[in-house]
């Protein structure tokens, strides 16, 4: 047992508890600034994670917890996302009636759950970390108690999330019943024998239902638009980036390190799901006028693109997912930071609220436009290279699986459709007529710093992708591909 491996998680939990306790003795006007303290603490932990190395996988808690390159990659990812989200929520503080310190603390607890998920090597840890994320998100989603949309989003997320976790637990129970273990390492040994049992396959399918819900893949995506629209903007950002990435790391671990022998038989299933998810997300996004809802549908589509990498079932595909998530992180966080600042006092988050944004604040307008262009996948921004890598991985797979070319056609069709609605937002910013409000928007310096960081990262990843690609290739060596 080596507790020092999970020192980052313990540090995050400790910082979250400290914020909760500090809240008790902080005067009310100062409570909002606890968010900066939280962001600074998470930032320090992020820097500390940069010093950590994981050459060989190290195990803790009876092999439930693994620290390898993949886990470390995702831990850094989550920590960085949480810093930006915390800065964003300080900006959002005046729209939350009570308990802003609890909001910060809950973000940190969800972060701890995501970091544990990155290291899950046992179904017990999969379940516990996933529920830690989901249950904190029920609260984060409905944190604006006075706003009907927020409460409604919370109830919808709760009902569907609880249903998905019931499927997940039942699936794990069936897997445990046949294989007699929940550990990924031991499962890999017995999966070949167990795969002959239909109950085992049923169990795995139910587990996939639970994980598919987290990433909003096709048949389990109905919650996403409502929840994205109703939640407070920082929650939506964290949901889009953190919760989705946590779903993907668990999916990769379950498919490629617990039961790789069975996964190879599921190529067709995964391909169909990926194609349907891309089409559904992109087609439904077209008529949307609500910016958060539009990004909700677009996040479904992006989950579909990332599933392409899963369906490719090679290390190129998995490393492309990691790269894509890295690009998605900066892009989506930039978009939601802008939404968080602009939509102050605007009910409905309608696209018309960003009309004439370039006159009100050039930085916000540029950030949102670049984010949209990157999401659409236009070079030279990060999003383009991510899609390129994913499609390349599927083409590699195409030699053995002719259906892959259909999938590529669907993906490219999806990209073409998405150009319409992403560029619609850009058009609304620069070329819309009759914008009602033209007062300048003041942007606080922490927000400016995080926006500049996101823009720089979008360009850097788009122009010099080698470094992140190498890191991603190194990280996916932990999987059995």
């Amino acid at each position: 047992m080596n507790l020092s491996l999970s020192i980052l998680e313990f540090a995050v939990i400790g910082a979250g508890l400290a914020i909760l306790l500090a809240d008790l003795w902080t005067p009310v006007p100062q409570k909002r600034n606890l968010g900066y303290a939280a962001a600074a603490a998470v930032g320090l932990i992020f820097l500390a994670s940069m010093l950590m190395q994981a050459a060989a996988p190290a195990y803790a808690f009876e092999k439930m917890y693994v620290l390898d390159g993949l886990a470390l990659f995702f831990k850094r990812f989550f920590l960085f996302a949480a810093v930006i989200v915390l800065v964003m929520s300080v900006e959002f503080a005046d729209r939350i009636e009570a308990g802003i310190a609890e909001y910060y603390a809950l973000i940190m607890f969800a972060l701890a759950g995501m970091m544990f998920a990155a290291s899950a090597n046992d179904f017990i840890l999969v379940f516990v970390s996933l529920e830690l994320i989901t249950v904190t998100f029920y609260v984060l989603t409905s944190f604006q108690r006075g706003r009907l949309h927020s409460l409604e989003a919370g109830v919808k997320y709760l009902i569907l999330g609880a249903l998905a976790s019931a499927f997940l637990v039942y699936g794990i129970a069936l897997v445990f019943g046949v294989a007699n273990t929940t550990n990924f390492g031991e499962l890999m040994g017995s999966a070949r024998v167990a795969s002959a049992r239909p109950v085992f396959l049923l169990g795995l399918l139910l587990v996939l239902v639970g994980l598919g819900f987290k990433i909003a893949a096709f048949p389990f995506q109905i919650w996403a638009p409502d929840v994205y629209q109703g939640s407070p903007a920082p929650t939506t950002a964290f949901l889009a980036v953190g919760s989705k990435a946590a779903g993907f790391i668990l999916l990769l671990r379950v498919l490629f390190s617990a039961v790789p022998e069975i996964t190879v038989n599921w190529t067709k299933l995964l391909m169909v799901i990926a194609g349907m998810t891309i089409l559904y997300g992109n087609l439904c996004a077209i008529p949307q006028r609500n910016l958060k809802r539009l990004l909700g549908y677009s996040s479904i589509a992006h989950a579909g693109y990332m599933l392409l990498g899963v369906a490719a079932m090679n290390s190129a595909g998995s490393s492309a997912i990691l790269y894509y998530l890295g690009a998605y992180l900066f892009t989506v966080l930039a978009a939601f930071t802008v939404i968080c600042v602009v939509m102050r006092g605007v009910e409905g988050d309608d696209i018309s609220a960003v009309a004439g944004l370039h006159q009100r604040s050039p930085l916000l307008a540029a950030s949102l436009s670049l984010a949209m262009v990157s999401l659409a996948g236009i070079p030279p921004l990060a999003g383009f290279f991510g899609k390129f890598l994913l499609l390349k991985a599927v083409v590699e797979k195409g030699a053995t699986q002719p259906g892959c070319y259909w999938l590529i056609a669907v993906a490219i069709l999806g990209v073409v459709i998405s150009l319409y609605y992403y560029l619609g937002v850009v058009r609304a910013i620069y070329w819309s007529k009759g914008s009602a409000e033209l007062s300048d928007i003041k942007v606080s310096w922490p927000i400016q710093v995080s926006l500049y960081a996101c823009i720089a990262a979008m360009f850097y990843l788009g122009l010099f992708p080698d470094r992140l690609v190498n890191i991603a290739m190194e990280a996916v060596k932990a999987l059995k591909l």
């Binding site: 109830v155 976790s165 039942y170 445990f176 638009p225 949307q288």
Partner: protein, 103 residues
């Protein structure tokens, strides 16, 4: 000695009843009860599998059930708080009427 398959049958039945309740009933609290039934079906499965496994001294199944019960309680606490909060707005706990967001 009750054979394993009877436990599994009971648990599948419980899961089915819970799922049917969660999908057909409109009252949020009853839906939550249905979901709790589904979770308990999984717990029953775990205990039965653990008891009939070749290595019952490895307490994996028991451990999972402990975590599952704890998490279900947390979920229920958050769920009830949420339903009470939304009841104050809508004066109903009927899920069909929570439809302010569409599209």
């Amino acid at each position: 000695m009750t054979p394993l398959h009877q436990y599994l049958f009971l648990s599948a039945l419980l899961f089915g009843v819970g799922l049917a309740g969660a999908l057909t009933r409109r009252n949020a609290i009853i839906v939550l009860i249905g979901i709790e039934l589904m979770l308990n079906a999984a717990n029953l499965n775990f205990i039965a599998f653990w008891r009939f496994s070749r290595h019952p001294e490895l307490a994996t199944g028991l451990m999972f059930v402990l975590f599952s019960i704890g998490i279900a309680a947390a979920e229920a606490a958050v769920g009830l708080a949420l339903i009470i909060a939304i009841y104050r707005h809508y004066r109903t706990a009927n899920l069909d009427q929570f439809d302010s967001m569409k599209g």
